[in-house]
């Protein structure tokens, strides 16, 4: 039984990465109608930026948490301005292909220069060590990841669902012409939203840098699972993706305990089941 508690907690930790990443995807899909396949590559860039900040600039983890999302977010906004914006109104497939291509290019460039084994990034001193919970040894860093990502997820949800700015955003998605008539700069808002989604991915990258190696393919390995999470939660649903992210992390953790061989397929099995029963996802509205 004790082992089970431990697995639940570990699942929650992984779930927080799924939640952060799928949240960014949901924001981008919900507001821009773009299936952002570059998300994994941008997550990886977040980790690399943290590495460079530390090793080239001597800037520590805490500043990286702030700076990496901004730097990668700006990169994202440049992508949106120069490429993605021309796809507005076209079929989803175009956005998917373009962002997938961008992901391959970015990953290829990083792999060319840094190899595939990755680079080390140490856990910040303040978060080293762990505590004994009785049923398991919880590394403090992992606990921090869960709490921090939960806060970020809820803040993002609040921003989009409960504030004036969020209301403009949602309105701009529903009817851009009308919102523009009120004197709001819709294209700029879209760009900023993409930057926000990308920034969330980069933030997840910084959070994961001390746990995993900073590797060019770290995002490619994760992105497919995260897409499954978004599909299960319902494309574009903010709360849906947060809850599904955490829930699937837990389910995956339990699978690793009871039947480890299936741990990287269980998410897709669930996805198929959900699509069969409720094609719009658990919390999705009909299109």
């Amino acid at each position: 039984m004790q082992a089970l508690y431990a697995q639940l907690l570990v699942g929650l930790i992984n779930g927080s990465f799924y939640a952060l990443l799928s949240l960014g995807l949901a924001v981008i899909f919900g507001m821009l109608n773009i299936i952002n396949f570059a998300h994994g590559a941008l997550y990886m860039m977040g980790a690399f930026v943290a590495y460079f900040l530390l090793n080239l600039g001597g800037i520590n983890y805490w500043w990286a948490l702030l700076l990496a999302p901004i730097i990668v977010g700006i990169f994202g906004m440049i992508l949106e301005r120069t490429m993605l914006q021309w796809l507005t109104g076209l079929d989803h497939l175009y956005g998917l292909l373009l962002t997938f291509g961008i992901a391959l290019i970015v990953q290829g460039v990083f792999q060319n220069y840094f190899g595939s084994s990755g680079l080390p990034y140490a856990i910040p001193d303040q978060l080293r060590g762990g505590m004994n919970l009785g049923f398991m040894f919880l590394p403090i860093y992992r606990g921090w990841v869960v709490v921090f990502s939960l806060v970020v997820c809820l803040a993002t949800w609040f921003l989009i669902e409960k504030t004036q700015l969020g209301a403009y955003l949602r309105a701009a998605t529903e009817n851009p012409t009308l919102v523009r008539a009120f004197g709001i700069n819709v294209p700029r808002m879209i760009t900023l939203t993409y930057g926000l989604g990308v920034g969330l991915a980069a933030l997840a990258g910084v959070l994961s840098a001390p746990i995993n190696q900073v590797r060019p393919l770290m995002g490619a390995d994760l992105i497919i699972v995260v897409f499954a999470v978004v599909v299960i939660g319902g494309m574009g649903s903010i709360m849906g993706s947060i809850i599904t992210g955490f829930a699937l992390g837990v389910i995956e953790g339990l699978t690793k305990y009871f039947y480890p061989e299936a741990s990287n397929t269980v998410v897709f099995v669930l996805m198929v089941l959900v699509l069969l029963v409720k094609p719009t996802g658990l919390t999705g509205r009909a299109a």
Binding site: V10, S116, S117, P120, A122, S263, N264
Partner: protein, 407 residues
């Protein structure tokens, strides 16, 4: 048919035959294919570095000056046996590749091994670990050059049990390589008086090992044997440190680690690990000279892994065999037989030999990773703590299930 036409027919046939056999003896073309993981989790220990090592072997052999024409091609098998076999068939049938180098990933290697045997080409495998390549699956067309699971288990496993690590729990990559490494190590542990208390199989290329590590922690085994490789091993080691596994008194055993993994982890995390390799760049003048030249030509200035060093060493011996034959007969089994006849000698692995079952023999070195303060500079990572002689390091022929071994 009159006598004259019969005579001219015979003469014509004789000339034609002479022409073909002449062409065969004089054929001085070689095509080398480096089949490896160019983009995935094993790309640093093989990948583009293996192709560079092959290129250096070609240059150092001086064959071009002797009138040989050597071509080199490379492909990415993406760690998928089906892609590996498809490339292998195309390379042999269309590209006329003579010899396959590297072929890391045991799953891919076993599949390519069959194609190469069927089509009478050559596989000099320097990357795959499974000892089955020279045991039940051995082939007259295959030489297993650098290391195998039996050797790793024998060297590292025995040393750790002797040092008091008598209960083991395995974290195993769920494919041919992990299974072979766990099987061979478990056998050594039991034979040396230890006990295996459990194991868990994880999918290849896993990012998060915490669930598996918690299970290993709960097993209370003294040694956690990592029967995985590349990125999987580095993630395991890094996360084990986080969960206080080593601090809690359990010891991690890296059954297969490469210098590129140690580099990726950094000495702070990797220090104190014990594992076995058959090549290290800083062993002697020969290895240092080669490695320096190699590193200068690598994009990230990396030192060669034993897999990449094996590509160089294997090709040097292959070239010697072809020169001894006076030309390339394009007959895999024949060339491999010649390679087995000749003793091997190169600056990287020293003197050695190739056994009837295709196993290349050379010493195995037990290393310990240095502490950060012991390291004098980049890539100065290992301390040599033990050497197993070439004839002791690998599976004895008396235990072999290879049909090529006459008993």
């Amino acid at each position: 048919m009159n006598t004259r036409s019969i005579a001219s027919f015979l003469l014509g046939t004789a000339l034609a035959l002479a022409a073909t056999s002449g062409a065969m003896a004089q054929d001085k073309t070689i095509k080398i294919g480096v089949l490896t993981d160019n983009s995935g989790l094993y790309a640093d220990l093989g990948g583009p570095g293996s192709t560079l090592a092959a290129q250096m072997a070609i240059e150092d052999s001086g064959l071009a000056a002797k009138g040989w024409k050597v071509d080199l091609i490379s492909a990415d098998h993406q760690n998928k046996p089906d892609i590996g076999t498809a490339v292998a068939r195309q390379w042999i049938d269309v590209e006329k590749v003579d010899v396959f180098m590297d072929v890391l990933n045991s799953g891919v290697a076993l599949a390519v091994n069959n194609v190469v045997k069927e089509k009478n080409a050559i596989l000099i495998d320097t990357g795959a670990a499974t000892s089955d390549l020279t045991n039940a699956q051995c082939s007259p067309n295959t030489i297993h050059w650098v290391y195998d699971t039996y050797m790793l288990a024998n060297s590292t496993g025995q040393a750790l049990v002797k040092a008091g690590g008598d209960t083991w729990y395995f974290l195993t990559a769920d494919y041919a390589f992990g299974h072979a490494l766990e099987r061979d190590t478990a056998a050594v542990v039991v034979k040396s008086g230890g006990k295996v208390v459990g194991s868990v199989k994880h999918p290849l290329n896993t990012a998060d090992f915490s669930s598996f590590l918690l299970q290993a922690q709960a097993s209370k085994a003294k040694i956690i044997g990592m029967a995985n490789a590349g990125g999987d091993t580095t993630n395991t080691i890094k996360q084990a440190a986080e969960f206080g596994i080593v601090a809690g008194g359990q010891k991690l055993a890296g059954l297969l680690l490469f210098i590129t993994d140690v580099h990726a982890l950094g000495l702070k995390v990797a220090q104190g690990l014990n594992f076995t390799e058959t090549f290290y760049w800083d062993l002697n003048d020969g290895t240092r000279a080669f490695s320096k030249r190699f590193s200068e030509r690598m994009k990230n200035k990396a030192m060669p892994s034993m897999v990449q060093a094996g590509v160089y060493s294997g090709l040097i011996h292959y070239f010697k065999a072809l020169e001894a034959l006076g030309g390339n007969p394009h007959d895999g089994a024949k060339v491999v037989a010649k390679m087995k006849e000749m003793p091997t000698d190169d600056p990287l692995f020293g003197q050695g030999s190739i056994r009837a079952d295709g196993r290349k023999l050379h010493p195995a070195y037990l290393f310990e990773v240095k502490k950060p303060e012991e390291s004098k500079g980049p890539w100065d990572y290992y301390k040599l703590i033990g050497t197993t002689a070439a004839d002791q390091a690998f599976r004895p022929l008396s235990e072999s299930a290879c049909p090529l071994v006459k008993k």
